[in-house]
Symmetry: C2
């Protein structure tokens, strides 16, 4: 009995993270068709682009999929109207208070999942009535919490603190890490970085290839005083690091960041001057695959680990 | 068949971390008597103190125990002579190259375990011939790696990279987190912070009580440019943070740190001006216990999780 599979109507408790510039309808529909939950990342989309992406996703799959909406997004009203009008069944919200939109979405029979990175905000999300929580650890790619709490510390603390299902995120990419997340109390896993390196991801090919080359320790959390974000090492991230080490203030960092850096790096493939948002687990990603082969391989590995558990590696 | 239990001659694959100012003979012998591996933390001990601690530990238990020696320790030669002379069966080395001491210790039939925080140093330790590795994640208390790789990312990467047994450290404190570590490929777990909050730990009572009050996000990695260390929030750690944010250099930080800060905080209980080294998991530690009750509770919880795995929470 899996609460999450029932909540979302999916076969496997695997959520593909909604990621700016990487997760459009092609990736989302591929993950949903493979039995997981595909998520369109609306944070990098104009309202008309999101509408088009949802329509294409609906044409490509008859399975449930979701849209991830950062609540600080300027056109949030239009995004939410489109989602409700087109009957998207599940919305992931992040980067803001879930209290404003949750009940309105739920009134339209839309499930709401909120992404948090601390116990305090897990409590707030539960109080706001969301259906599930994504507990995202420090190792995750992209924007992240100031507390720097890692997956192994955050997930059990959140699972102890709330009654709604917890989906673990940050550092999960295979059967081993998915089983670790379930051991910690999660009822589902959200996977971002590994799905960036798929044929269906809209990330630029140069960015995918750079991730395949990444080694241990090549991502670090940057721009902590502005809005913490995990970046892959490149000339731009080193420029940010140098500015931070010399004590740059928020305004100076904002100017350095400028506009459109993430698009330039992840979507246009400018590996020098672009912002390359990716998780720490990128050091473990070795192959460009289809989304379906990732889901299938992960499920096989997970089931292999859990089936032989009593007379195996796990026996104490 | 557990390689680690055979290697150490212990009942449970639970290692108590060797920690300065917290893990003397009382804690180490209590953990070993409970079936785990107790470890004396020699990094805060003068040579004559270590000798006395080893003799007392030998009098208190007939089970194997270990000594942890930071390889940058100034009196390393004397420490190692004492360890070999008194027949300590296992040595944990950290903070330096394991190539110098490993073969000399092994020639005396002493097992050598080296602590690392990156795949690169895991390779080096295996090349140096150590018997096992502790892979310590970013969330661990005390001194830590510059790569900031977390337990869920580090352990699978290290387990893939080496053939010797891997002991996971960082964020582990109960049956759930121990099972997560085994899912990631570890064959043992090292637990630090939770053993600080025991009757047998030599930490000051005020420090233990402060840990019990700690919440989510109250530890952060500090002094990254000097030598990264995870500290509990207090006036001293805030002073360090302010200096770092204003771009303080290495010399300035070294002066601010001064001498004896860790002793002052952890051993003498000065919660204002002392250095309070503890893991991120301190937010989850709710009770001052005996070391034996921690070991027993953890084993019970672990076995409960692994025994019912096929028709439970874990079933996909």
């Amino acid at each position: 009995m899996s609460r999450l599979k029932n909540l979302f109507g999916i076969q496997w408790p695997i959520v593909q993270a909604g990621m700016i510039w990487c997760s459009g309808w092609e990736l989302a529909s591929a993950v949903s068709n493979a039995g997981g939950l595909g998520v369109i990342g609306a944070g990098s989309m104009y309202p008309e682009v999101l509408r088009d992406q949802i329509l294409k996703c609906q044409a490509a799959t008859d399975k449930p999929f979701a849209v991830n909406v950062p609540l600080i997004y300027p056109s949030i009203e239009e995004h939410m109207r489109t989602i409700m009008e087109l009957g998207v069944p599940i919305v992931f919200t992040s980067a803001g208070s879930p209290s404003k939109w949750t009940s309105e979405l739920q009134a339209k029979d839309i499930r709401v999942v909120h992404v948090i990175s601390s116990v305090k905000f897990a409590h707030k999300a539960e109080m706001a009535g969301v259906d599930a929580i994504v507990a995202e650890g420090f190792e995750a790619g992209g924007h992240n919490g100031k507390e720097e709490t890692t997956t192994i510390c955050l997930v059990p603390a959140v699972a102890d603190a709330v009654r709604i299902p917890v989906i673990a995120a940050g550092g999960i990419y295979d059967g081993r890490t998915a089983l670790a997340a379930f051991a910690l109390g999660a009822e589902g896993v959200q996977i971002g970085s590994r799905f960036v390196v798929t044929h269906e991801s809209s990330a630029h090919r140069a960015f995918k290839e750079r991730i395949l080359e990444a080694g241990d320790g090549e991502t670090l959390l940057r721009l902590k005083d502005l809005t913490p974000v995990r970046l892959l090492d490149n000339p731009f991230s080193r420029e940010v690091a140098a500015a931070e080490e010399s004590g740059a203030g928020v305004e100076e960092l904002r100017t350095l960041l400028g506009r459109g850096r993430a698009k330039r790096g992840m979507f246009e493939g400018d590996l020098e001057h672009g912002e390359l948002e990716i998780g720490q687990v990128s050091g473990q990603i070795k192959e460009l695959q289809s989304a379906a082969s990732i889901v299938e391989g992960l499920v096989d590995e997970y089931q292999g680990l859990t089936s032989g558990m009593e007379d195996s590696h796990f026996h104490w």
